[in-house]
């Protein structure tokens, strides 16, 4: 506990009868990246707000670099950066003015604050828009300015609340690359996301929250394995009955398949997607059914969430399945047919 950059111990927070966080415990070692994963209303933002000293927990304790976020809030604020849904930039100030202001408030001298602002604007590709008011920025530029605002004080721990929300795929990739560079330099990162793909891409450990409770925690591959691995999705042409396809695929997956008669789609959880593609092709050919589309993708948050809630309780780490995506290869195996949820 003492060595952790971020530690949450039995955190509980209620708002007017709704339990936003219920006895949640996790920790993040220095230099690590923790993905807080969960659907809307899972308690992710509440957890970040407590850790960033914006909200006091009803019970439990949270520490950043060993400092209590309630009793030593002022010291914690000197070590953290916050960026996300709610921590705003001023739309009527220019990008540069926003960053200089935050630098000054962090105790930087006038010149140091200007230097730091220029450095960050340059690095985040905002230098040409630096002297325009932030309200003229696109969503992606605004988000980058927001991340820059969190980085002004070179924080030990950076909190990012849903950093990729509202970004186009290109902007998302650029942001992920930036965050990768930050962690390579030792910044501890805690981010919330609704997307398993994003957590998988960035995080060294994942905590899954649902209705304020900790549902699962572990490495990305452990979480993915426990959420039933990839999903194989076979769609029949409009008007066709997906039943025969479902029968042809019986027993192929790692769990029961889901048949949607309206969209004509059969979804099968598979532990090792790419490996079963040849078996899939053979079965489809043998059963002589018409198929409009075949896709291999990661489980959506809803699917992972459903799968995880039917798993044994937290702390039971399952063995990593063979054939998982090789580490360090961004798209991973099965890229050609992989779609984002």
């Amino acid at each position: 506990m003492r060595d952790a950059a971020v530690a949450a111990e039995r955190l509980t927070k209620r708002f007017a009868g709704v339990t936003a966080l219920d006895d949640v415990t996790f920790e993040l070692p220095a230099g690590g990246v923790l993905g807080l994963l969960g659907p809307n209303g899972a308690g992710k933002t509440t957890a970040v707000r407590i850790l960033a000293t914006l909200l006091a927990p009803d019970s439990g304790q949270a520490r950043v670099a060993g400092l209590d976020v309630v009793a030593q809030a002022a010291s914690v604020r000197r070590l953290i950066g916050l960026s996300g849904q709610y921590a705003a930039v001023d739309p009527f100030l220019t990008g540069r003015e926003n960053l200089v202001m935050i630098g000054r408030l962090h105790g930087l001298g006038r010149r140091a604050a200007h230097c730091r602002a220029s450095e960050l604007l340059d690095r985040l590709g905002l230098i040409e828009a630096a002297d325009r008011q932030a309200r003229t920025y696109s969503g992606g530029m605004r988000r980058r300015l927001d991340v820059a605002a969190g980085l002004v004080a070179a924080p030990l721990v950076l909190f990012l609340d849903e950093p990729a929300t509202g970004l186009d795929p290109e902007g998302r990739l650029a942001l992920w690359q930036l965050l990768g560079e930050l962690t390579a330099q030792g910044t501890t990162l805690l981010l919330t996301t609704q997307y398993l793909e994003e957590a998988d891409r960035l995080a060294t450990s994942i905590v899954v929250l649902g209705h304020g409770r900790l549902i699962a925690s572990g490495t990305p591959s452990q979480i993915k394995a426990r959420s039933g691995g990839d999903r194989l999705e076979v769609t029949v042409p409009p008007g066709d009955d997906p039943g025969p396809v479902a029968r042809a695929l019986a027993g192929l997956g790692a769990g029961p398949s889901v048949v949607d008669g309206v969209t004509g789609r059969v979804v099968v959880p598979v532990a090792d997607g790419p490996a079963i593609l040849s078996e899939l092709a053979a079965r489809l050919a043998a059963s002589n059914v018409r198929v409009a589309e075949v896709a291999l993708r990661q489980p959506t948050m809803e699917e992972a969430f459903l799968a995880l809630t039917h798993q044994p309780g937290p702390g039971t780490a399952l063995p990593e399945p063979a054939g998982n995506r090789p580490a360090g290869s961004p798209g991973g195996a099965g890229q050609a047919k992989r779609r984002s949820p």
Partner: protein, 267 residues
Amino acid sequence: MITAAAPAPQRAPASVLTSTGTITARNLRRLTRVPTLIALATIQPVLLVLLFTYAFGGAVHVPGMSRYIDYLLPGIVVLAIGFGASQTGVAIAEDLASGMIDRFRSLPITGTAVLAGRVAADAVRNLGVVVLMAGAGSAIGFRFHAGPGAALTAAALAVAVGTVFSWLNMLLGLLVRNPEAAGLAGLFPIIILTFTSSTLVPVATMPGWLQAFARANPVTAMAGALRALCLGGPTARPVIETLAWLAGILAVTIPAAISRYRHATTA
């Protein structure tokens, strides 16, 4: 490459003065860039002077005074500043709703700096409003009759009154947390208190039951003090009465606003 690893976690945090100054500068910048704020600080005060002088002035006869503008201006300054102060509450509620307050609360600065920076910027605006109204009034016949020293004291007192209204509206804004509601909540008291005071008409013209209220009304004291400083006459009593009101209101609103700020969050 970004230097991300913390180079100086031991860096001294900004002093209260620096952080207050930084927040003040931010708010003043907004004041020059948000069109509604510019209009509220310029057109509205001038409009008030002209409207009340020409629409109203013919009907009001103040004993012993030849021009209504001489009577009106010191009072209408209080009304204009009171209207303007409602923007303090609107602004803090907007900062709460937009997440600016969350940003500030995640930084190593005190809440006092955030609130004082807001009030300080509004005080600068109020000084501008006072100068503008004096200018507009002078253009249509208003004159200071008690010398430049008293005139400057009047301006300073007007700004002080504005500062106190700002703290009051700050507290309202932090309590209601919704910008529109904060605007309304700020306007109601000032409208009621202004129209039941000596701001626009002499108290003696009111029915007896209202006279009692008007005499106890703090806005009567404020308008009276400014009037005495602008036009001459005994100043000690209304000025002391005004300062007592101001001190009393501040003693309640500043601690309450700071405490409220600590607990106010966006979500």
